[in-house]
């Protein structure tokens, strides 16, 4: 595949009234800009008609593309045509009396949040709205991007993962048709829920064009409890005790990004009297200080965005340096797993044979009750390329993987090293589904499948 294939497709799309633009800058790339659902289908149909055509990748605001598609960088971008959904926007139906929302995939997440707030609802997951994406995409998170990436918010402990809140979707398929499954109802078992494959499917099977969501009530009251200056292990231990306690928080977080030392943050939301009650109990138990009302909501949003900043700090837009490590574990093992991961970070050499190494003190953002610890190790500017660095670190990660596995967890490098992801039974069905729904591999390659892992950095 060459640029020629992209150019040929661009020319074909122009004859069918679809704009294609070339993005310049640090990450040169091509984007098609369909104006509606039918046009998304036409992009796929035209791509199917081009022999050895480029691969298609749906694009929302670009805020999650680096984490979702670690295979997309450098030369791979030249063979890619992004289907930029920024023109496929608008609320199709917001039914406040039913607590449901249907909107087109390119609609900015923030716009949707504002629409549903008027009817007293919130969106879940509670995710960031924007990020610096270095030129690929608008930098404003979209409905399709949030769903396609399977992003979880800190509120996962309360509301569950995003997939539990998607009620149905319209998808542009691998054969260029527009297929609907599910519906707009909070309860519905009519037919196969094919749309679920696209929620968290990272755009590898089709393009989400429109989706319906279950909304959650905007809480009557909120409180954010903060305990600063903790040792990381103490903070995690307290977080686990909150998880096991009587209150049902909106989120629980531990991070060292905000202040010196580690901060434990517990976000409460719900009926006013219950929040007040839980807040009083937790202040006593934790010795916490509390923000309430709008200040609590703003503080919780800051925490949420801190996590985002951290994840993006090693993304496509940030020049490919550093390492983001996401370690999942059962909640009860989070503290032990964190100890292993932090010890491992501390043991990293300050220099590698490839040049200066990673910072020794990682940025930590942990959502222990959501079973994830995230570490970012920013690399100094001008060090070895990420690929070289990661190749070097591959070996060093092995002992960590073994120890974390023994504790019932799984470390996953969130950036560029899909090769490290463990092989799973599910891969067999994932391949079958990929072939079934995208027989011409128009959305290939799939970073998740072992067949493609072979092509990952070696």
């Amino acid at each position: 595949m060459t640029h020629a294939a992209v150019e040929e497709l661009a020319a074909r799309l122009a004859t069918r009234d679809i704009d294609v633009v070339r993005g310049e800058g640090a990450a040169p790339h091509w984007r098609a800009l369909p104006q509606d659902a039918e046009a998304v289908g036409r992009v796929i149909q035209e791509a199917l008609a081009v022999e050895h055509g480029p691969r298609l990748v749906p694009l929302g605001g670009g805020t999650r593309i680096a984490a979702c598609r670690p295979d997309l960088h450098g030369p791979a971008l030249a063979d890619t045509l992004f289907i930029d959904m920024q023109r496929v926007t608008g609320v199709v139906e917001y039914e406040p009396g039913d607590g449901t929302l249907t909107a087109r995939a390119g609609t900015p997440w923030r716009d949707l949040a504002e629409v549903v707030a008027e009817g007293g609802h919130d969106l879940t997951p509670d995710v960031r709205w924007k990020a610096d994406v270095g030129g690929i995409g608008s930098g404003r998170s979209t409905l399709g991007g949030v769903l396609g990436s399977g992003a979880s918010g800190p509120d996962r402990i309360r509301h569950g993962p995003v997939r539990h809140h998607v009620l149905g979707a319209l998808v542009a398929t691998g054969s260029g048709t527009l297929a609907r499954s599910g519906g707009r109802l909070v309860k519905n078992v009519t037919g196969f829920d094919v749309f679920r494959l696209h929620v968290g499917g990272r755009g590898t099977l089709g393009v989400l064009v429109e989706a319906s969501l279950r909304l959650v009530p905007k809480p009557e009251h909120e409180a954010l409890l903060l305990v600063d200056g903790l040792d990381v292990h103490d903070a995690l231990r307290r977080a686990e005790s909150v998880r096991r306690g009587a209150a049902l928080p909106q989120s629980i977080a531990v991070t060292n990004v905000l202040r010196d030392g580690h901060t434990l943050a517990v976000h409460l939301a719900g009926r006013a009297r219950q929040v007040e009650h839980d807040m009083r109990a937790l202040i006593g138990e934790l010795g916490a200080r509390a923000l309430t009302g709008a200040a609590a909501r703003a503080g919780a949003a800051d925490l949420r965005d801190t996590r985002a900043t951290f994840a993006a700090s090693v993304g496509l837009g940030a020049g490919d340096t550093g390492l983001a490590l996401r370690v999942t574990s059962m909640p009860s093992a989070a503290a032990a797993v964190a100890r292993e991961a932090l010890d491992w970070c501390a043991s990293l050499p300050r220099t590698t044979e490839l040049g200066p190494g990673l910072a020794v003190t990682p940025h930590v953002v942990a959502w222990p009750a959501v079973a994830a610890l995230e570490l970012a190790l920013p690399a100094p500017a001008g060090t070895a390329t990420a690929r070289g660095l990661l190749r070097d670190l591959t070996q060093r990660l092995q002992p960590l993987r073994a120890r974390v596995r023994a504790l019932g967890g799984a470390p996953e490098v969130a950036h560029a090293l899909a090769a490290l992801a463990p092989s799973r039974d599910a891969d067999q069905w994932e391949r079958a589904v990929s072939i079934g729904l995208d027989p011409r591999s128009i959305f290939a390659p799939r970073a998740l499948a072992p067949a493609h892992r072979a092509g990952a950095p070696t």
């Binding site: 449901t100 539990h164 078992v189 009297r273 069905w429």
Partner: protein, 481 residues
């Protein structure tokens, strides 16, 4: 290839006498599920005791190209477990072990044949429970719940089965064993569990299920609001949804249902002069519960409720709920057969659809009783009839079709928790276009390319999209396809 004696012998050697039924008289017990209008006879019923037996049996059946219908307790109401193409029924009746309960991280691993209510019993000592609670929970199995993405009254707050499945052990149509997800969930790939839950046994056989457990609420309160008309009762529910209240269950029972329950052994103390009652559970922390009850009482008053009773204790709560859960059984007093519809409407349209349902039944001289998971917009208009009366059967099915069509027209759906199965297969075309069904068929073929798993269900036959036909079997009784 027919199910010949050699294959039968190999299956018997694998599963033992306790694990295989080939006597046609005994196979009769497996000819239908709760939808007794549709029947089909299996040539053999297999009862593996664990995953590896199920996988080994599936390999033999795969080699011989025999259709396989998974079956839990047979309480399904859409004909999903009816072996319409003959072949084998794979029952989970001998897979009844709760394998592990983790009280700290709040999950359990169970075999697929574990009865729903037994799972909650098995984790009660940890002060946890399994939230989905179909009315048949005393009999239905977790595997069956997975196949149908089953609901129940308390799904209003806690969600249907799909929101509680963390992992699955699946035997594929060729007899391979796959582990999907696990106690920690699996966010790294495609949501195959999401596709599998509710796939009605057409993608694979779930032999073990890892489920999420929920902490028992600090407090529970049960309210019974009494209304002089069904319409106001529905309006009260729409108000509760519009005010974004979050009780754990909102159920409506109408007059005929109340009479049937009160005349049965499950007498719950529902007032017999009421036209409809609202049965509501509120749970959570004390303060939250108090605030929600306060708001519910205000709505009920505004909508003209005669009275709202508050259950005094756990015994009274249990009695009120036993009446609701036994409602379908109690209908047996009205007529020998019961058509249980299972439609969904947007919750803003509850009144409209209930009025229409009443009208349709009245016009056709049918006895209609209404039980609603009202909080979810999930209606069960139940029509009592006698299947020996062919004309009545025709009118029942006609009414069912009209109700489904109206729901779809209002933005609703064919089924909220019972599944499509055989019953609503052709009506799928009311909701989905050919391109939609084509995509579902692609997903199905990707995971079961031969279409041997539960053939003839869910996907409409139109256009030969999905029919598994096979040559008549030497051992098949007369009249089998």
């Amino acid at each position: 290839m027919a199910l010949d004696s050699k294959l039968l012998a190999r299956l018997r050697a694998l599963l033992g006498d306790a694990g295989l039924i080939a006597d046609p008289a005994r196979c009769l017990s497996y000819e239908s599920d709760g939808l007794s209008l549709e029947r089909g006879l299996a040539e053999v019923v297999l009862l593996p005791a664990h995953t590896h037996e199920a996988a080994a049996a599936m390999r033999l059946l795969s080699e011989a190209d025999v259709p396989v219908v998974a079956r839990g307790a047979g309480t399904g109401l859409s004909g999903g477990a009816t072996p319409v193409a003959g072949g084998a029924v794979m029952s989970t009746a001998r897979m009844r072990k709760v394998l592990h309960v983790d009280g700290v991280d709040r999950w359990a691993r169970v075999q697929a044949g574990v009865v729903n209510v037994d799972l909650t019993r098995a984790c009660a000592h940890e002060r946890l429970f399994y939230a989905p609670d179909p009315s048949s929970q005393q009999a239905c199995t977790i595997g069956g719940n997975v196949a149908n993405n089953s609901g129940g009254p308390h799904c209003f707050r806690y969600g249907s089965t799909g929101r509680h499945v963390l992992g699955l052990t699946v035997v594929t149509s060729t007899g391979e064993v796959l582990e999907l997800g696990g106690p920690g969930g699996d966010d790294d790939g495609l949501d195959l569990i999401g596709l599998f839950v509710g796939s009605e046994g057409m993608l694979g056989l779930a032999t073990e299920v890892v489920v999420r457990l929920v902490p028992e609420p600090e407090e529970v309160e049960t309210l019974l609001a009494i209304f002089t008309d069904l319409d106001s009762c529905c309006a009260a529910v729409s108000d509760m949804i519009a005010e974004r209240l979050e009780p754990s269950a909102i159920e409506i029972l109408d007059k005929l249902t109340i009479e049937a329950v009160e005349a049965s052994v499950l007498r719950a103390g529902y007032p017999q002069d009421a036209e409809a009652v609202l049965l509501i559970d509120v749970d959570g922390g004390h303060e939250e519960l108090d605030a929600t009850v306060h708001d519910i009482l205000a709505i009920c008053e505004r909508r003209g409720a005669l009275e709202v009773r508050r259950a005094k204790d756990a015994y009274e709560r249990k009695k009120l709920w036993a009446g609701r859960k036994g409602a379908f059984g109690a209908m047996g007093r009205i007529a020998p057969d019961l058509y249980v519809a299972d439609v969904v409407a947007p919750r803003t349209k509850l009144r409209e659809i209930v009025r229409y349902t009443t009208e349709v039944a009245r016009e056709r001289g049918l006895k209609l009783s209404n039980v609603l998971h009202a909080g979810d917009g999930n209606l069960h208009p139940n029509i009592s009839y006698d299947r020996r009366n062919a004309d009545e059967v025709r009118r029942v099915l006609e009414a069912g079709d009209l109700i489904m069509q109206r729901c779809v027209d209002l933005g609703g759906a064919l089924t909220g928790e019972h599944g499509v199965g055989l019953e609503k297969r052709e009506q799928m075309c009311m909701v989905y276009r050919d391109v939609d069904l084509d995509e579902m068929t692609r997903a199905r073929r990707a995971l079961d390319p031969t279409g041997r798993l539960n053939p003839g269900k869910l996907i409409p036959v139109r256009g030969c999209r999905e029919v598994k036909t096979r040559p008549p079997l030497t051992t098949a009784p007369e009249g089998q396809p």
